[in-house]
């Protein structure tokens, strides 16, 4: 019996890796296991090599492992590619005949997948259900569980398809059960009952729905497209308009237009599209229009690695847009944070009438994890709209940009409040009209920049701090590295490694970080980029120098084993 396993399904794009992967996740969820399933795919629709990697465990987990216990290889290439990533006693399911492999290896579990698929279903696509059955057999999970998951997965395709898939799964199950007599792939029972299973795009999308976002305009761009798909799927039910724009410039400007008219509006993209939106972000700031922008990061520059992961847009999003203005940037670290901070983003955007950026990445977007149910009632919708009309007494017309010490002018909506709303991208008077006045300009800059930043700083999201006091070393990161840092720290003796995670990177939580690090050890930033951007930001904002930075910039996420070995070689605790 084991406490955890890593199972990898690997093959070409289009071979149905996702189908097996998702079915297995569902089976594990039903058994109450904890799941962390990440996806590695190429920027193509067919061929190449992809994998779907499921780590399943009796305990809470939050990162992938490097080595895998069970690999299902769906084509020949994947055998070679997967071999270096097999755990010592790992087994590799493959179809030697079909792949034309003559050689024998101890870890090979040769199954005539293609032949069996033909026999049971009459088509090679039944390989997927055979493989699902195989794994369930190897792990000695209940066959009925497999059957129920596959039944609902294929339910829509009709009875016949369901039956054939079940037959295939049974075939696989029998073979798997036979192979594993030592129980090495059996997992201890677990207690994750009631947990949810979802990916990051869904968590973020749900946050947006919950926040009352009714307008999402975007141009498709991996890895942000999942958000658009998710919102489109629920558009009818929640009255959300999902508008595919002609380009990212249109996307952000549409969102600004919608927000100006009074709805909660969001757009999403990745680095290249974000670049195109930056002038619009500056517009949102100038016109004081609340808008939420998701930058789901992928490796750049330019087209880069479209389907892979990176955290290199931190500097970009903090400084994007010409001119000086207040903004907030969140960097959620897991699904619950994705859900909560998306809601928070809307609240802050409307309170301060600013653009708010959600920084995620491919790892967060595509990784399927389970999570405790989200606190659904936790976050109130705060719109900060002015409806009283007090500003129009004495015949004074409404002034959209009325100067206030807080930097926040009373916000009304066109057609809905008293008075007319003039919004302007030029420097403007309090009434929203073009001005050339030097003194007014100065006050307007202070309003949009200094005053609002001051307010934002006061309600910055506190960083996640774990076991900092008295620790020898601190692993520090933002966004998607949260999980792997926490697991890695937990592998050391108590007192060795603390973790400090920023889920809001701007305004930088200067005081909170300084305080948190007061009694903590030396800082090691863990970043999915090449420039140690967080380490530099930390120094710039607090004067604290990181001891070192563990950086990964090959387009792949950190895995637990990789990070541990990097810590051992680069830090030597």
């Amino acid at each position: 019996m084991s406490t955890e396993l890593t199972i990898t399904i690997t093959g070409e794009a289009g071979q149905g890796l996702q189908t097996i992967g998702l079915a297995l996740c569902r089976i594990f969820q039903k058994k109450g296991y904890y799941i962390f399933a990440d996806q590695d795919y190429m920027s193509r629709v067919r061929g190449g090599n992809n994998f779907f990697r499921i780590r399943v465990s009796q305990e809470r987990i939050s990162a992938p492992r490097r080595f895998c216990d069970i690999a299902v290889c769906l084509d020949k290439d994947s055998v070679d590619l997967q071999l270096p990533f097999m755990a010592e006693h790992g087994v590799m399911i493959l179809d030697k005949k079909t792949f034309k492999i003559a050689e024998n290896q101890a870890r090979f579990f040769d199954v005539a997948l293609a032949e069996l698929a033909q026999q049971t279903g009459g088509s090679s696509i039944y390989v997927n259900s055979i493989a699902s059955g195989l794994i369930a057999g190897l792990m000695q999970l209940d066959l009925s569980l497999v059957e129920s998951v596959l039944s609902s997965a294929f339910g829509k395709k009709g009875k016949d398809v369901v039956q054939k898939n079940l037959a295939a799964a049974r075939e696989g199950y029998a073979l798997g059960s036979k192979k594993q007599e030592d129980g090495r792939f059996q997992l201890e029972p677990a207690g994750a009952q009631g947990n949810w299973l979802l990916d990051g795009s869904q968590a973020l999308g749900l946050g947006a729905i919950k926040a009352g976002c009714t307008f999402y305009s975007a141009y498709p761009m991996t890895p942000s497209t999942g958000i658009m798909n998710y919102l489109a799927a629920y558009a009818d039910q929640y009255g959300v308009v999902v508008e595919q724009a002609e380009d990212e410039i249109a996307a952000v400007n549409m969102a600004i237009g919608a927000a100006f008219a009074g709805v909660r509006a969001m757009t999403g993209t990745s680095g290249g599209g974000f670049c195109l939106m930056t002038e619009g972000i500056s517009l949102a700031a100038m016109t004081e229009t609340p808008v939420v922008i998701v930058d789901a990061q992928r490796p750049g520059p330019a087209t880069g690695f479209p389907t892979r992961t990176e955290q290199a847009d931190l500097d970009l999003v903090i400084h994007a847009g010409h001119g000086e203005f207040a903004r907030a940037v969140f960097a959620p670290g897991n699904s619950e944070q994705l859900f909560m901070l998306t809601q928070r983003a809307f609240n802050l955007a409307e309170k301060y009438q600013i653009p708010v950026i959600l920084l995620t990445d491919q790892l967060l977007a595509d990784t399927i994890v389970n999570s405790d149910p989200f606190p659904l009632g936790g976050m109130k919708i705060e719109r900060h709209l002015e409806t009283s009309g007090v500003h129009e007494k004495d015949g004074e017309p409404y002034q959209r940009y009325q100067l206030e010490a807080s930097g926040i002018s009373p916000r009304r909506l066109p057609a809905l409040g008293a008075g007319l709303v003039y919004a302007d991208s030029d420097e403007h008077t309090e009434a929203g009209h073009i001005t050339e006045d030097a003194g007014l300009r100065k006050r307007m800059v202070e309003k949009r920049f200094h005053c609002k930043m001051q307010g934002l700083k006061k309600e910055v999201e506190p960083p996640g701090a774990h076991c900092l006091d008295g620790c020898q070393w601190v692993l520090m990161g933002y966004g998607s590295t949260y999980g792997v840092m926490r697991e890695a720290a937990g592998k050391f003796k108590p007192g060795q490694f603390g973790v400090l995670h920023l889920s809001q990177v701007w305004p930088f939580p200067q005081e909170e970080i300084t305080r948190a690090l007061q009694h903590a050890g030396r800082v090691i930033t863990v970043e999915n980029n090449a420039g140690a951007q967080l380490a530099k930001l930390l120094f710039r904002e607090t004067g604290i120098k990181a001891f070192t930075s563990i950086l990964e910039y090959n387009g792949r996420p950190f895995d637990l084993d990789g990070l541990l070995s990097r810590i051992n070689t680069e830090v030597r605790p």
Binding site: K30, L197, G205, V241, A250, I256, G257, E279, P414, A415
Partner: protein, 289 residues
Amino acid sequence: MMPGDYKTHNEIAWCPGCGNFGIANALQQALAAMALNPKDVLLVSGIGQAAKLPHYIKANCFNGLHGRALPVAAGAKIANRKLTVLVTTGDGDCYGEGGNHFIHAIRRNLDITVMVHDNQIYGLTKGQASPTTDPGYVTKVQTHGALLEPMHPLAVAMALGAGFVARGYSKDVKHLADLIQAGVQYKGFALIDVLQPCISFNKKNTYQWYDERVYTLDASYDAGNEAGAYQKAREWGDKIPLGVIYQKASFTYEEKTGLAGRAPLVEMDIDSIDVGAPVKAFQVDAEEE
């Protein structure tokens, strides 16, 4: 309200004699004729001389970025379809920097009206060629004269499927006011290209030049005949037609999406949204898709 009541007290930054004054007047007349409440009107503009217009009109206003009026207008209209949305933009703003939005706004067919102040020049930036500049016109940048094929915006709009395509002339204020009214009343995307003399930088297409060439389409003209209208839309030279060049009935974005049948998005109550349904999909007993 009388046309004059739609005027603001802001100092007007246009050159005295500029064709933009006629457009502002026509817009005021049209708003008055339709008895629109300023509160229910939204003017969206980009950047340029044309784009300053909303500051001189009593209505809501979003004066955005150069070239980006159309997407802002789309977002606003989708958010609150009760707003009467008019876009006021320049030939550079709309056909140059904003060309991609021009294409797709027509395809989207929201119920908005777009007035392009077409002075065939970049006015605010002091006289470079615009997409509609006549060939050969010399500027500081186009030292050998404009070389690119001039754009026929009305023909392009028709090729893109626009359902209301018109040309006005800023000097013929009454006619232009009527066109604006017709555009606003048209259900769908209405394009009005307005000949607008720029007395400072366009020394070719002057009032006189236009006066010598424009003629108003009369009742005998069939704006519903697509093939004929397409020829009309391309007519440019000795004769330049004014009026509704082409008109057809169309399904609007609002109708196709079903927005038309529901309360405006902005009126939806978002205070306590029940996310039960999507949450169910995350749970153990979720139906697989």
